[in-house]
């Protein structure tokens, strides 16, 4: 039977940990940026949109390298973080989280933004006349209506984070138990003589993991959808 080796368990656990942490950490920012892009008009909106979408269009290795320059221990921001808070990303699982979060961010923002754009601001206006404060309107009207979109965004980001390779290996390196997630373990196996069977096993695990993530999100999104039933007539 399919018996997982300690190294495989380690890679799976690490992958899940990194992907989950990256989605959880980027969600508040994703909501904020999506809301700004969908609802507000301000100077530099185009620039913000371009900045958010950069990781989607440039090779992940480039993103990883830029992050290394910026967040590495000698980097502009990285040095300050290390000196003042003793935080370091390179050779650390937190680095893998940051790499996964940056690369998957545009997918999350995109899905939430599209969903937000379908919410009729007039409904929020109506909620205001009924006595709800802006924050209450957001949580009782806007959020429930965009929930399927948020779930979709989180799933896409999670899947992208699970598969993240280029930025991670460039920025956080390939250290067993620390930053060696499934794709990195798979890559290592293919670079090792006689590692084909190990690689094959990792491929199966990766496919299974992604499939389960998709099924779970599909289930959640459907449940949220059921409660909302889009396309209410005006």
């Amino acid at each position: 039977m399919f018996q997982l080796t300690p190294a495989e368990i380690e890679a799976i656990g690490l992958s899940l940990k990194v992907a989950t942490a990256s989605v959880v950490c980027s969600l508040p920012f994703g909501l904020l940026v999506a809301w700004l892009l969908a609802r507000k008009s301000f100077i530099g909106k185009g620039l913000l949109s371009a900045l958010v979408h950069i990781p989607l269009v440039v090779p992940p290795v480039v993103v990883g390298y830029l992050m290394l320059i910026l967040l590495g221990r000698q980097g502009f921001v990285g040095k300050w973080l290390y000196d003042s808070f003793d935080i370091t990303f390179v050779f650390d699982w937190k680095g893998a989280v940051v790499a996964a979060a940056v690369v998957s961010f545009p997918l999350m923002v995109r899905a939430i933004q599209l969903s937000l754009e379908t919410v009729d601001p007039l409904l929020e206006e109506a909620a205001g006349t009924l006595g709800a404060k802006p924050a209450q309107v957001f949580w009782t009207i806007t959020m429930p209506i965009v929930l399927p979109g948020v779930i979709t965004g989180m799933t896409l980001a999670f899947a992208r984070a699970l598969g993240e390779f280029g930025a991670t290996i460039t920025f956080a390196s390939n250290i067993p138990g620390e930053t060696r997630t499934l794709p990195l373990a798979l890559y290592t196996a293919t670079q090792t003589p006689g590692g084909d069977s190990i690689a094959m096993r990792l491929v199966v695990i990766s496919v299974l993991l992604a499939g389960i993530a998709l099924l779970v999100s599909e289930f959640l999104a459907r449940r949220a959808h059921m409660r909302i039933r889009r396309g209410y007539p005006t």
Binding site: E125, A126, G131
Partner: protein, 374 residues
């Protein structure tokens, strides 16, 4: 009293629009906001609700200042306690009927006298019980508006704004909602500002009317008075228009299916209506249904004979008709009444301004839809 003074300048594409309003609305009864499309009716109530921040405004309801640009006071919509029934209902799609109704209750802070508006009473009045667990998507247009009205009421408003709540409904659905609207103001004692461009609707529901045109109030006063003014005729004339007489029920004749009313100290007999004795009523009378007689008629089938004098006359070009504005009633209590007669009749009877005449109205020419209760 609701004191409203607003100045607001808007650009709409190539056009600009200037809203310049001064209006004092009584905190009792229904006040209609009437005018052609583009007159600024919706803009005005959006400013009152706080949905639009005007260049300069002072809005005070019973000494509560909601907006005073000079003193830099601007209450946001959620603290104004002004209910708003939108034309399209704007029900929340992710909530059921009871969820929508409860939303109003959930966030409104309790105030003195708010115990009058309970979920039970609103639900009973608007017959919402069978709908409570239904999703919004399955509701008909009329049901949606009933839910929207209930939701606004349950937020305990100090003023209720209604933006053509019946405009999107067909005739039957309108007839379904109108009776509810008639009862609301009376039962809960909430003043209502009702936007409409349907005069029959206004005549039936409203006591006061503000006529709007081009961003300004061109007239304000009791519905009977304003809708009978000659100078406003181009604005207030509508198909099936006419005058409104107000009075109250004296008695019913159940055998002959008639109701006796007293209107401006004179008796008016109409087809039987479902109202208590003493209940105030308003009757809309079409100009075509009125005949004019110089003497009190004898041997005539017409039941309603109202004494009055001719206030004004206006020839209608290229037509056989003349509009005659009568003033019926005693010397001190009179009501304007529009009649339409032929030029030939005016000539034969030698009708002139100031003449004493009798207005004859056939009872059967008045149907139930022309009579408003309350």
């Amino acid at each position: 009293m609701i004191d409203i003074a607003i100045k607001h300048y808007m650009h709409l594409g190539d056009n600009s629009f200037h809203l310049d309003i001064e209006l004092n609305v009584p905190t009792k009864n229904v006040t209609a906001l009437f005018g052609p499309s583009g007159a600024g009716k919706t803009t005005l109530i959006n400013v009152i609700a706080g949905l639009l921040r005007p260049d300069s405004a002072r809005i005070v309801i019973d000494r509560t200042v909601l907006n005073d640009t000079e003193k830099r006071i601007f209450e946001p919509p959620n603290t104004r306690r002004i209910g708003y029934v939108f034309q399209d209902g704007r029900l929340f799609p992710h909530l059921s009927v009871s969820g929508n109704l409860g939303f109003g209750q959930r966030f409104s802070s309790p105030v003195a006298g708010s115990d009058k508006i309970t979920f039970g009473r609103v639900s009973e009045l608007l017959r919402l019980d069978p709908l409570l667990n239904r999703p919004i998507q399955g509701l008909s247009g009329g049901e949606r508006q009933r839910v929207a009205i209930g939701r606004a009421l349950l937020a305990n408003p100090r003023l209720l704004l209604m933006d053509e709540p019946l405009a999107s409904l067909d005739v039957e659905r309108k007839a379904e909602i109108l009776p509810f609207l008639e009862e609301i103001g009376q039962l809960f004692g909430i003043p209502i500002i009702y936007v409409s461009h349907s005069l029959p609707e206004i005549r039936r529901l409203a006591k006061w009317i503000a006529v709007m045109d081009g961003g300004k109030i061109s007239a304000f006063g009791p519905v009977e008075q304003i809708t009978s003014r000659i100078d406003l005729a181009p604005l207030t004339e509508a198909p099936g228009g006419g005058s409104v007489l107000s009075g109250y029920v004296i008695r019913h004749d159940e055998k002959l299916f008639l109701t006796y009313l007293e209107c401006e100290h004179q008796r008016l007999i109409v087809p039987m209506i479902n109202a208590d004795v003493g209940a105030p009523v308003r009757v809309q009378v079409r100009p075509e249904d009125i005949a004019i007689s110089l003497a009190k008629p004898n041997g005539l089938s017409v039941l309603n004979v109202l004494a009055g004098h001719i206030e004004n006359m206006r020839d209608i070009e290229n037509s056989p008709s003349v509009d005659v504005l009568l003033n019926v009633g005693d010397q001190d209590i009179t009501a304007p009444l529009w009649a339409k007669v032929t030029k030939l009749a005016v000539k034969r009877l030698a009708l002139k301004k100031g003449m004493m005449v009798y207005a004859l109205i056939k009872s059967v020419s008045i149907d139930r839809t022309q009579i408003g209760i309350g």
